[in-house]
């Protein structure tokens, strides 16, 4: 051991030994591999719509079709009201933007380790790269869908059905977006690490997405939740994200308050615990996958 210790102090030296305690987060390793994060994101994007007839239009069609379906069934048949008399289609589309980003990121990132098992069993790299790249590659789809939102907003403004204005509050979309990404990454770090060992996660994911959608204000407004449940409802970070989006773009009365602080705190807790659990299990991935 003594010789290993003297060698260890030289530059460029790696000591491989069993990790005994809680591993350090080792973020500098992730920084060293930043180009890999970029390339994996780029690869996801390049490959995603290959050999599809509609190509990148899918980034728009997904939330758009959801909006149409929601408007017919929830807005039209079930008469779910939108805040401030805003037309239901744009009310739901604004929620669908972060929601589609979140749910795609969550699904892709949770499966990312198992999808890339050959990389995990054949080379060394920080495994966090995989869920991270999956989450980031969803951002491009989000931006494309956002352009469509601008189109929809213009349509409603021109036809006089709504009055959507550009306000300074739009800047807050960036932190809200970050919050959605953090939540997706946090849950995905838990689930992807669990997926390696228990493939049951693959079966849980579809209905987890469905349940999360119903406890998030996607098809309805937060204002429909009884006041005594509001604080508990805020434990879902996506509730904070969607409320924030509606407030910033449509001016609904769901702006930042205590509930947002709760949502943000939960998002941070999910992210941090997810990262710790992921790092903890990372060393066993190659053996158990």
């Amino acid at each position: 051991m003594a010789r290993a210790e003297t060698l260890k102090n030289e530059p460029n030296t790696i000591v491989i030994r069993p990790t005994k305690s809680w591993t350090a987060l080792n973020l500098q390793d992730l920084w060293f591999y930043r180009e890999l994060i970029y390339f994996m994101t780029w690869r996801d994007l390049k490959v995603r719509y290959k050999q599809t007839a509609l190509g990148v239009s899918w980034a728009v069609i997904q939330p758009f079709m959801n909006m149409v379906v929601f408007s017919i069934f929830f807005g039209g048949l079930a008469h779910i009201p939108a805040d401030n008399g805003i037309p239901y289609p744009i009310f739901s589309f604004v929620a669908l933007l972060p929601w589609t980003l979140f749910t795609n990121a969550l699904n892709n990132a949770s499966r990312s380790l198992v999808t890339h098992q050959n990389m995990i069993t054949k080379i060394y790299f920080p495994k966090l790269v995989l869920p991270l790249a999956s989450v980031l590659s969803g951002l491009v789809d989000f931006l494309i869908a956002f352009v469509v939102l601008i189109g929809i907003a213009l349509y409603y403004n021109l036809t006089g059905q709504a009055h959507i204005t550009i306000t300074a509050a739009l800047w807050t979309l960036i932190p809200f977006l970050l919050m959605a990404l953090m939540t997706a990454l946090g849950i995905a770090m838990w689930l992807s690490a669990l997926y390696v060992q228990y493939h049951d996660v693959g079966y849980i994911l579809p209905f987890l997405s469905a349940i999360l959608q119903f406890v998030s204000p996607v098809v309805y407004s937060t204002t429909m939740i009884p006041a005594k449940w509001q604080m508990i409802y805020a434990l879902n970070p996506m509730a904070g994200v969607i409320n924030g989006f509606r407030w910033a773009i449509l001016g609904t009365p769901t702006g930042p308050d205590t509930r947002l602080v709760i949502s943000a705190a939960v998002a941070v807790v999910i992210l941090v615990t997810g990262m710790i659990y992921f790092r903890r299990m990372e060393r066993t991935f190659a053996d158990t996958i």
Partner: protein, 430 residues
């Protein structure tokens, strides 16, 4: 001088699942199904705090144990061992893919491993795109890849198709491109695992050449192969692994010799114990491979001028269709001499299409005046063509051929070549 790689008391333990119990009552199954999630949750919790817990029906196996060795800068070390001896586990630990259970490895410099040719290649992306992606996966900087791009393309010989998705490539082209990227990684320490088992002969030569270059540049190479001729050609020194233990470290010629003769219970005979046969082999169970001289005695040295009997004894626990038992004959240096199957003959092929369960012996005779003197390796294979391979042992038995009485022995000079036939020469004065 301080070593580049220092391996101390290295061990790796795996948890493996055992076959589930065969008979269980319904109520047992139900109560298992109910209690299982709870036990799993408990195990998960304990594992996440670093305790290793065995679940019922699991046990530990040591893939590596008490491994100690060091490699100096610029050395080319061969690693040899049978399947399951722990070679791959060792390489995986050295390339930081998996963690050891005990001990430590100290490495000075960047490790590049050719375990990973083509890892991360995406079939939908073009050759060009995959070079960049794969380079990043192997830990190369973008600038580094750009600088070496032309060289990589030239080495891979796929210039024309560089902007074609790799899913349209032939497997040879795919492999060449993958190897080209990995070969330009320029690590201080290169770990190579059996890449040479794939690709055509021309390409294998190129790969070996590249490895030779790497070694000449004074970088350190670890080379794992089943190809003994490649080991002898490329390495001066080798270590032999057997069942997770380091058996010897010696000059490659000596190590290869040890490896080839190890595992033979008795000279001229290889007997497989039940625990040596992998479970996937069922319903085929190898019993023994023997070499007999013309009097029927089991021998490990045969005379080149006499016929040699080869017999493979085995058992089928269930009837098998299309089974063929093959022998591979190679020289101790790894050059292939011949491959032959017991149903090569059309008539026997039709007659033995279905073999009922039972004990069998498939035997053949090597003709006299056939092999040259030296050391040979006999391998066996049992499979159904294009359906399944039940069992394979490429180095089941080694034997010597003695040339006394062979043609040309009046001259005490070595005769190059694998064969030593008695050719019918005619000398006519004209």
């Amino acid at each position: 001088m301080e070593p580049v790689i220092l391996v101390e008391d290295l061990g790796k333990r795996y948890r493996i699942g055992l076959a589930p119990q065969k008979y269980r009552t319904l109520s047992e199954s139900i109560s298992q199904a109910i209690s299982r999630p709870f036990r799993l949750a408990g195990a998960m919790l304990r594992r996440s705090v670093g305790q290793d817990v065995l679940q019922p029906g699991e046990e530990y196996i040591w893939a590596l144990q008490d491994i100690n060795f060091e490699i100096q800068h610029g050395q080319v070390l061969g690693i040899i061992g049978r399947n399951g001896a722990g070679k791959s586990t060792l390489l995986k630990i050295l390339s930081r893919i998996t963690e050891p259970t005990t001990g430590s490895v100290t490495i000075r410099g960047r490790v590049g491993s050719l375990l990973e040719v083509g890892t991360g290649f995406h079939p939908e992306l073009t050759g060009r795109e995959n070079i960049f992606l794969n380079g990043a996966i192997l830990g190369m900087r973008n600038a580094e890849i750009e600088r070496k791009f032309d060289e990589i393309v030239a080495f891979s010989e796929v210039e024309q198709f560089i902007d074609t998705p790799v899913k349209r490539y032939s497997s040879g082209m795919y492999l060449r491109l993958a190897f080209a990227v990995a070969a330009h990684l320029e690590p201080e320490i290169l770990v190579v695992d059996e890449v040479l088992a794939v690709g055509d002969t021309e390409f294998q030569k190129k790969c070996l050449g590249k490895m030779g270059d790497v070694a000449r540049e004074g970088r350190t190479v670890l080379f794992v192969s089943h190809n003994m001729s490649a080991i002898l050609r490329l390495t001066q020194e080798s270590i032999v692994l057997e069942k997770g233990h380091l058996m010897m470290r010696a000059a490659s010629a000596e190590a290869v010799d040890y490896y080839l003769s190890a595992g033979n219970a008795k000279a001229g005979e290889r007997i497989w114990d039940a625990d040596e046969v992998p479970a996937e082999a069922a319903p085929f169970r190898p019993i023994a491979l023997r070499l007999r001289d013309k009097t029927g005695k089991v021998v490990d040295t045969v005379r080149s001028v006499e016929p040699v009997g080869i017999e493979m004894e085995y058992e089928l626990t269930a009837p098998l269709t299309g089974l063929r038992i093959g022998i591979y004959l190679t020289t101790a240096r790894g050059d292939q001499v011949l491959t032959s199957f017991d149903t090569d003959d059309q008539e026997r092929f039709e007659k033995h299409g279905l073999r009922p369960a039972g004990r069998y012996v498939s035997q053949c005779v090597l003709p006299p005046d056939f092999l040259n003197g030296g050391r040979y390796v006999l391998g066996v294979n049992a499979g159904s063509y294009r359906v399944r391979r039940y069992f394979m042992d490429e180095q089941a038995l080694t034997f010597n051929v003695d040339t006394s009485g062979a043609p040309g022995m009046q001259w005490a000079e070595p005769r190059p070549g694998i064969l030593r036939p008695r050719l019918e020469w005619k000398i006519e004065k004209q």
